[in-house]
């Protein structure tokens, strides 16, 4: 549904992954679901839902354009990946990775999208996961910039937890674009940066794997208390209490990042940088009985984006599926529908 809002809402089709994987809906069905939720835009993983990838035919583009018309949707973003470890005995060279990067840019242009989500080397910060290879680093991005410019495609740097858009590690990309006079790379917010406590989806998943629900709920409660009191979460305050219950290996795995996560990234910084943001992933895992995301402060996050002057799309990115589908069917279509109600409410659209 087209609107004249400055902040527009959409759905990343990633949100419907189980729906597609288990053949409940095909690509058109997923588009119908997005449109039915009230979405204006869609983000697509061609590798997940377009069998012709990487050679999308004109015939498919015609069909795609027809769907965009039928469902009154706007194609927003194509998801880029950096599959450096292509073969068991050899990684892709830089030239080969650049060539594949060009596939995504050209596909985005063909589908009528305005951007690609670039899977850049620092997308989850530096050294979060030890790797002996590089994803799309600034050297590769520099070579993609002229191609992005030629096709008028913005390369959105998804800044995902534990990093955020105000982490200086992402700036080198914008500096490179500025040096070349090719302003085709920008910051992408992912709401994971603003999680203030463990999600109920994670509590459920780890509990089913053998963690103590009691321990995880104590942690979650203390994290919530700290966030709403506007102070740091201090693991030391509950350490003794939960160790008395006895931590098993699953508990330890569930809590591995908890002591270092004292508070979410700054919403003040989000507001400051909002006008430079080129795209937003509306990440969520679970909704509570009031229709609120259970571990991200949506009203305040949306206010920061609005007050800061963000103009562009926020696409639902439901990630609860992979945390909850071990317990049975997760109704992704229903989650996204409710998520859009929440987002519209936060923006004052209803």
């Amino acid at each position: 549904m087209k609107t004249n809002h400055e902040i527009k809402l959409g759905v990343s089709l990633y949100s419907y992954q189980d729906t597609y994987y288990f053949h409940k809906q095909d690509l058109e069905g997923c588009l119908a679901a997005a449109a039915g939720a009230g979405a204006e835009g869609v983000e697509v993983f061609p590798e997940a839902m377009m069998p012709e990838w990487p050679y999308i035919s004109d015939a498919f583009v015609d069909k795609w354009n027809g769907w965009m018309e039928r469902y009154d949707l706007v194609p927003v973003c194509v998801d880029h990946f950096s599959d450096r470890r292509m073969w068991k005995n050899r990684n892709l060279s830089d030239d080969e990775l650049v060539e594949r990067g060009i596939w995504y840019i050209k596909t985005a242009a063909k589908l009528g999208c305005q951007s690609i989500r670039l899977l850049h080397e620092e997308h989850i910060g530096r050294n979060t996961i030890k790797r002996d290879y590089l994803l799309t680093d600034v050297k590769i991005a520099e070579r993609l910039l002229p191609v992005a410019a030629e096709h008028n495609i913005m390369m959105a740097l998804e800044c995902h937890a534990p990093t955020s858009i105000d982490d200086p590690v992402h700036q080198i990309y914008m500096e490179t674009a500025e040096r070349l006079g090719l302003p085709f790379v920008g910051l992408q917010v992912d709401f994971s940066s603003y999680e203030y406590c463990m999600s109920t989806a994670d509590v459920g998943m780890f509990t089913r794997q053998g963690a103590h629900a009691e321990i995880l709920n104590i942690v979650r409660e203390k994290q919530r208390e700290a966030y709403f009191a506007d102070r740091d979460f201090e693991y030391a305050e509950i350490k003794e209490q939960i160790e008395k219950i006895g931590l098993n290996d699953v508990d330890k795995n569930a809590l591995r990042r908890v002591p270092g996560h004292k508070r979410p990234h700054s919403l003040l910084k989000l507001k400051e940088l909002a006008s430079q943001v080129v795209y937003v992933h509306g990440k969520f895992y679970d909704l509570d009985a009031d229709g609120q995301v259970d571990n991200i402060d949506y009203p305040r996050v949306f206010k920061a984006l609005q007050d800061g002057g963000y103009k562009g799309y926020i696409c639902s990115e439901f990630e609860g599926n992979r945390r909850m589908n071990d317990a049975g069917w997760v109704d992704e279509i229903e989650y996204v529908r409710k998520h859009h109600i929440l987002m519209r409410k936060c923006l004052g659209y209803d």
């Binding site: 990633y14 992954q17 597609y20 994987y21 288990f22 053949h23 993983f45 590798e47 997940a48 839902m49 069998p51 990838w53 990487p54 050679y55 998801d79 990946f81 950096s82 599959d83 450096r84 470890r85 292509m86 073969w87 068991k88 005995n89 050899r90 892709l92 080969e96 594949r100 899977l119 997308h123 989850i124 996961i129 790797r131 994803l135 992979r322 589908n325 071990d326």
Partner: protein, 131 residues
């Protein structure tokens, strides 16, 4: 994510040629949230009736083409043949005499390399009925 689903119960059967059983097959689905080039498969390990299957006896049938499993592990394999998300990949085990019709315990280990996270190793064990 999809560990419990990667070994499907669809199309498990003997492979016949000229009235003789020459092998058997199972169908797998991917253990990731998108499709991957076939050469990003790091390992397909099968154990049938408690016996490991010789990797050299495995043949993959995909979109009308057939590849020796060991060939997809080499950098001579094309990087644009995608095992699609939700698509069944048919794994054929060449074995004279095939498999006895009926129920057999099958264990699968499927490892895939992806962009930013370590190689994902998924395991799935099921008792499957072979036709």
């Amino acid at each position: 994510m999809y560990d419990a689903h990667i070994l499907t119960d669809v199309g498990c059967r003997n492979i016949w040629e000229h009235g003789k059983k020459v092998g058997y097959c199972v169908n797998l689905t991917i253990n990731y949230y998108r499709g991957l080039p076939l050469c990003c498969v790091d390992e397909i390990f099968l154990e049938v009736d408690g016996e490991p299957v010789d990797p050299a006896a495995i043949v993959l049938q995909h979109q009308g083409r057939e590849y020796a499993y060991l060939d997809i592990l080499k950098d001579t394999f094309p990087a644009d043949f995608y095992w699609l998300f939700g698509e069944m990949l048919r794994v054929v085990v060449r074995k004279e005499g095939g498999i006895e019709q009926g129920r057999h315990p099958v264990k699968l280990r499927l490892a895939t390399r992806r962009s930013y996270t370590p190689t994902m190793v998924s395991e799935c064990t099921k008792t499957l009925t072979f036709a």
